[in-house]
């Protein structure tokens, strides 16, 4: 006999309005389901009604945390159609902002995980260490979030050389603080007790569910777009893909913490190697064609597809964010765990529902409105109409 426990849509542990149903027997979770759709804003259709230049601003607002990732992926898709060569300086500047975004996103997750575990100190410290990263982003791009930094062909603004010493100093301090946090978290017996062996996602399941990013790397799947299909300046700097074999929440936390140290390494090398020169190649028009752009966002691979019909607006702009692949892994993770661990397990993939929102139109009976036979009937009706009129 299972009992339904509703979580959401406005719940203190959820940042976003989502409805999660937990089916429990006593204290043990038997199954979980999720109801999405409260943040669906129709971005794919909006993108088709805006010009390519405006699209980079629109896709930035898919998700406030991955704003650099989405706009870079969209730009890569546009550049894939045009086949343009990006100046070296632009590639390095793009990489720096992207890695800074990864730092602040991972640190945000560490803080929220601390909040969920009941460690307010971890939350406060994590968010305190995150502020200098946002200051660096503000110094480079002009805004704390939503950078408006990427444009088809390069970046929008050049950066004065005077700001880099400050950024390097902030990165040095950030590495020390992350290292301290890493040891403080991984050496704490209580945190270990809450994370170790909780929410197991086996390597086979991680592959079968198609998980991405730190979720997959925490289950021993060594995938990373930055290494597998290098873009930006990643093939020219020295860094490692962090993979852990633990398959539990602790492994994912360790992957995120270790990745931050790698990101600091990448940023420092990029600043040292930053070449001089132009910051963008002008893209005057986008010809007819199809292009894809995929990059490693903080949560996993972000994928953008653009089909152009030669006008100044895309004919189709399809996006897929990593959370869409990671959400189904809730189920194998949460089955058999206790309710008190469920919220932690939902947080471990660092879900970003606003990236992932889809829409299904339901009829009055609560089932999908347009079934196959409805669509065929509509198609037949249209043919009939044309026959009558011709």
């Amino acid at each position: 006999m299972s009992t339904l426990i509703p979580i959401g849509p406005f719940h203190p542990v959820l940042e976003e309005p989502e409805y999660i149903s937990l089916y429990v027997d006593g204290e043990t979770v038997e199954d979980a389901d999720i109801d999405l759709g409260r943040i669906h804003r129709g971005i794919e259709l909006l993108a088709q009604e805006k010009t390519y230049d405006q699209d980079t601003f629109l896709v930035e607002r898919i998700c406030g945390i991955c704003s650099a990732s989405h706009s870079w992926a969209a730009c890569l898709a546009m550049e894939d159609i045009v086949d343009v060569v990006i100046p070296d300086r632009a590639r390095y500047l793009r990489t720096i902002v992207h890695e800074l975004e990864r730092l602040h996103s991972h640190m945000l997750w560490v803080g929220l995980a601390g909040h969920i575990l009941g460690y307010w100190t971890v939350f406060m410290w994590g968010w305190k260490y995150r502020e200098p990263v946002l200051d660096c982003l503000e110094a480079i791009t002009g805004n704390r979030n939503n950078y408006a930094w990427y444009c088809p062909g390069g970046v929008r603004r050049d950066v004065a050389d005077e700001i880099w010493p400050g950024v390097l100093k902030a990165m040095d301090e950030f590495a020390v603080q992350t290292d301290m946090l890493l040891h403080a978290i991984l050496d704490d017996p209580v945190i270990l007790g809450r994370l170790k062996g909780v929410g197991i996602l086996t390597t086979e399941d991680a592959i079968a569910y198609g998980t991405l990013g730190p979720t997959a790397r925490g289950s021993g799947v060594p995938i990373d777009v930055r290494r597998d299909e290098p873009y930006g300046a990643y093939s020219e700097v020295d860094w490692d893909v962090m993979v852990q074999d633990g398959c539990d929440c602790l492994a994912v936390a360790a992957v995120r913490l270790l990745e931050m140290l790698e990101s600091v390494k990448i940023i420092k090398q990029c600043i040292e190697k930053l070449p001089a020169g132009p910051i963008a190649t002008e893209v005057r028009e986008i010809p007819r064609g199809e292009g894809i752009g995929h990059i490693e966002a903080p949560r996993g691979e972000t994928f953008h597809f653009i089909r152009s019909n030669g006008t100044n607006m895309p004919e189709r702009h399809k996006m897929r964010a990593p959370t869409f692949n990671n959400i189904p892994s809730f189920r194998p993770r949460v089955k058999g765990e206790s309710i008190s661990d469920a919220v932690l397990i939902f947080a471990v993939i660092d879900p970003c529902y606003s990236c992932t929102e889809r829409l299904a139109v339901l009829g009055p009976d609560g089932r999908p409105y347009m079934k196959g036979k409805d669509l065929i009937a509509l198609s037949h009706a249209k043919t009939e109409e044309l026959r009558k009129n011709s």
Partner: protein, 137 residues
């Protein structure tokens, strides 16, 4: 000054309602709590239930599916309650106002007392908005 207005003078308790936002405003609201801005020193704090709230911070462009829940949350809040619309989406709909699923902005559904523009508004702007609201009440 009645008792309720006197109660609004200090220590506002804030409930944060995400009505279809992209997380940016929400992160900046949480940023207000963190050591750099630390609104708790003014006695403001984020509460976990709308029934404890003096101020509703509402962000987001209000897609259709969230409308009934937004209205229900507002009705559950003990009156008087001040409502702050956060961000460009919350104030006007911003870049999403032409979307097919757009049912906002917020002031179409619930009365709004203050608007904090920006995409996203900086934590200073959010704190400033709440402080100005305190002066108005």
């Amino acid at each position: 000054m009645g008792a309720t207005n006197w109660g609004f003078k200090k220590s506002l308790w804030v409930f944060h309602l995400n009505a279809g936002a992209c997380n940016n405003c929400d992160i900046e609201v949480l940023d207000c709590l963190c050591p750099k801005y630390d609104i708790e020193r003014f006695g403001m704090k984020l509460v976990g239930s709308v029934k404890h709230a003096d101020v509703l911070l509402v962000s987001g462009s209000v897609p259709r599916k969230v409308v009934p829940q937004l209205i229900e949350a507002y009705e559950q809040a003990p009156k008087p309650v001040a409502v702050v619309a956060l961000g460009a989406c919350g104030c006007t709909g911003g870049i999403f106002k032409d979307g097919y699923n757009f049912a906002g902005p917020i002031d179409k559904h619930i009365p709004v007392d203050a608007y904090v523009p920006g995409c996203p508004p900086r934590p200073e702007a959010i704190i400033d908005g709440i402080v100005k609201l305190m002066g108005k009440l």
